[in-house]
Amino acid sequence: MGEKRAKRMALIASKGTLDWAYPPFILASTAVAMEMEVAVFFTFYGLTLLKKRITAKVAPQTNPAMPMKMPFGPKGFQEVEWPMPNMLMGNMPGFETMATSLMKETFKKKGVATIEELREICLESGAKLIGCQMTMDVFGFSQVDFVEGVDIGGAATFLEFAADSDIQLFI
C-alpha cells in the first residue's frame, strides 16, 4: 500500500537534575541513530535542560539506596562502595555540589558524553526538542534563554505527535 512510516518516539522530560537529564538525551540520540523520529517535550524542571548553559546538579536525595564508588584514588579505593546515609545528604552543606562533581568525574572517566554534547547530537540529527510554553510563562523563561534549534509548543503540540507514535515515555 503506502510506505511504512518510520518508528516514532515521544518523550516528556520533566526533571532538571543531572541524574534525570541523561535518560531523555540518551534515548533521543540513540533513537535518532536507529532512524526513528523523535520529539522531546521539556516541561517544568526539564525546561532548564534547554538553557544555553546547563547547570544541572545531581540530587543525591533521589538516590537513597545505591552506594556509589569514588572516581579518584588508588584502584582498591575506587572499588569501595560508599553508602549514602540520608542524614548526611539532607544536612551537609555542599553535599549536592560535591555529588555533582563526583558524578561528572565518574562519567568522564567512563567515556560518557556530557549533557551538552548529547543535546547537540540530538539537535544536529533532527530530533525535535520542544519547550513547554506554559511552563515558560509560569517560570519566566523565554526563547532567547534556550540553545538554538528549540521549538516552543504546548501540550497539544506534544499530544499530536505522541498520538501517532510508537514509544511514549514520561521522564
Binding site: K7, S29, T30, A33, M34, E35, G111, V112, A113, I121
Partner: protein, 60 residues
C-alpha cells in the same frame, strides 16, 4: 556513544560497503545487533579480543 558513532560512519558509506567498528563498551554487543536489525544494515560478524569488541557492518 558506539551506536551514535556507528550511525555517523555508516551514513558516510555507499551501499554494499563494509564498516569495521571497534568498541570497548560491553553493551555494544547487544546494541549493535539491535541497531543493525532496526536500520536494516547487515551485521556480518562480530568478535571480542581482550575487552575490545569488533564488528563488521555492511551498509544496505
Amino acid at each position: 556513544m558506539p551506536i551514535l558513532k556507528t550511525k555517523k560512519a555508516v551514513d558516510g558509506l555507499s551501499s554494499g560497503q563494509v564498516l569495521k567498528m571497534l568498541a570497548t563498551d560491553p553493551g555494544s554487543v547487544s546494541d549493535v545487533q539491535s541497531w543493525s536489525k532496526r536500520t536494516e544494515n547487515t551485521l556480518i560478524d562480530h568478535s571480542e579480543d581482550g575487552g575490545v569488541y569488533s564488528f563488521l557492518i555492511q551498509k544496505k
